[in-house]
């Protein structure tokens, strides 16, 4: 069921304590900042957050972490020059980290949306990130079993939506958006523009509306 909502606060109002929330973006490109701010305001806590990073500076995801609302981060690159809030929580033992090679992160998200029960990948074989995981030699290469990552909610940013929820993105801001939209039970999208149904060329739709539940326009 697709809803167009008037505010970001309304868009995230259904997020419950203990939810797994996927958040799109790589660096600032494609980060749904307004939706993250609304998640902050809605008060949900004990969250597991899936994002490539673990927050930067004093905004967005970094503030959620600072306020102790994130129980666990699943990400590929938590440490950055300005990831001080994550660093502090990690050193204090107040946040759990599941570190995943970036391609395994993306494919595990994709697998969830595609109904795949897991997959073998050469990435990470023979490294500490494969410790304790099932391995096989396939076609002469060592490979590691990786499981899908499902989510209750995805918060993503797209450029435009049409009336049935089809989405197009902009340049490298696409990044995790399409696969997170498919992987989550409930996908919330902030867009810059909503166009009438028929206003997007079907050949150019990147995320079909079937994956989208709530759309909010952010100026």
């Amino acid at each position: 069921m697709l809803n167009f909502v008037d505010s970001v606060n309304e868009a995230v109002s259904g997020i419950k304590d203990g939810s797994t929330v996927m958040i799109g973006g790589f660096g600032n490109a494609g980060q749904p900042f307004e939706l993250i701010d609304a998640l902050m305001d809605c008060g949900a806590k004990d969250l597991t957050v899936v994002n490539n990073n673990a927050g930067q500076g004093d905004q967005g995801l970094a503030l959620l972490i600072k306020e102790g609302r994130v129980r666990k981060m699943i990400c590929s690159f938590p440490r950055q020059s300005d990831s001080w809030h994550f660093d502090a929580k990690f050193h204090a033992g107040e946040i759990e980290l599941e570190l995943v090679p970036q391609g395994n992160l993306a494919e595990r998200i994709r697998a969830a949306g595609a109904g795949i029960g897991g997959f073998f990948t050469p990435t990470g074989y023979g490294t500490m990130l494969a410790e304790g995981k099932e391995t096989r030699i396939i076609d002469g290469r060592g490979q590691v079993f990786e499981s899908p990552i499902h989510a209750d909610v995805a918060l993503i940013k797209a450029l435009k939506a049409d009336g049935v929820g089809n989405l197009v993105y902009r340049k490298t801001a696409r990044n995790f958006g399409p696969i997170m939209a498919a992987a989550a039970k409930h996908t919330v999208v902030q867009v810059s523009e909503i166009v009438p149904t028929g206003g997007l060329d079907p050949e150019n739709v990147v995320t079909p509306g079937i994956y989208v539940n709530s759309i909010v326009k952010v100026a």
């Binding site: 590929s76 391609g103 023979g126 490298t172």
Partner: protein, 222 residues
């Protein structure tokens, strides 16, 4: 003064830019290439248009152009190091799972990475020091190391303390096993593989002098 062996191609060690120029010259025309963050990024400064190299960035783009300046800067168009870049004619965008399928699927000809250590058989350590208080962060390093057809490493041969970064076995946590095919350093270019280390050329030292710095047996092609 010792006698220079025939594989010495420079009378002094190569600086970062000269090394980047050498890597760029060694990339076959028409290649699809991913340049890692840091020193490898310098290689893009020396790629010539007639080489027709297509650059891939892990955050979902082929056909990446030079760093953006002035009003070219667009927050939606960045590289893996989160630096604003430009797009070239023929560029394409795709989502993260497709971007890493390009890597893992063996579609990239070359990736160029930095390293802490490379073993004699091409094991790579470049993501984590393993220090107890270090926050590990891997990003796309393992995917690149595993997926590209050729993995080139650029690094100084020695640490600040003078230890060789080409080692018998890596002491830092591994990024990938047996993945590195070539190592470009300030003192030499090394080819690595199951049969050990072959020196292609040296800079500012003889093979014998190089062997004194590196704790694994060095061979030459002939």
């Amino acid at each position: 003064m010792s006698t220079a062996t025939s594989i010495q191609t420079s009378d002094k060690p190569l600086g970062r830019d000269a090394l980047a120029e050498l890597v760029a010259r060694d990339i076959a025309p028409g290649s699809f290439v991913n340049l890692g963050i840091g020193q490898p990024t310098l290689v893009s400064n020396y790629l010539k248009p007639e080489q027709n190299i297509t650059l891939h960035t892990e955050n979902g783009m082929l056909g990446m152009g030079p760093e953006a300046t002035g009003d070219q800067i667009d927050g939606d168009l960045i590289n893996a190091g989160k630096i604003p870049v430009t797009e070239l004619p023929g560029a394409s965008y795709f989502h993260h799972a497709d971007s890493f399928a390009i890597m893992r699927g063996g579609h990239l000809d070359i990736c160029v990475l930095g390293a802490f250590q490379v073993s004699a058989t091409g094991d790579l350590a470049n993501w984590h020091t393993g220090a107890p208080d270090a926050i590990p962060a891997v990003g796309g390093a393992m995917d690149l190391a595993t997926g590209a057809k050729d993995v080139f490493v650029m690094m100084t041969l020695l640490t600040r303390e003078g230890a060789s970064k080409i080692v018998d076995a890596c002491t830092y946590p591994l990024t990938g096993v047996g993945c590195v095919t070539r190592v470009y350093t300030d003192k030499a270019v090394f080819l690595t593989g199951p049969d050990g280390v072959t020196v292609r050329e040296t800079f500012g030292c003889t093979l014998e002098e190089l062997q004194e710095l590196v704790p694994v047996p060095l061979k030459t092609a002939e």
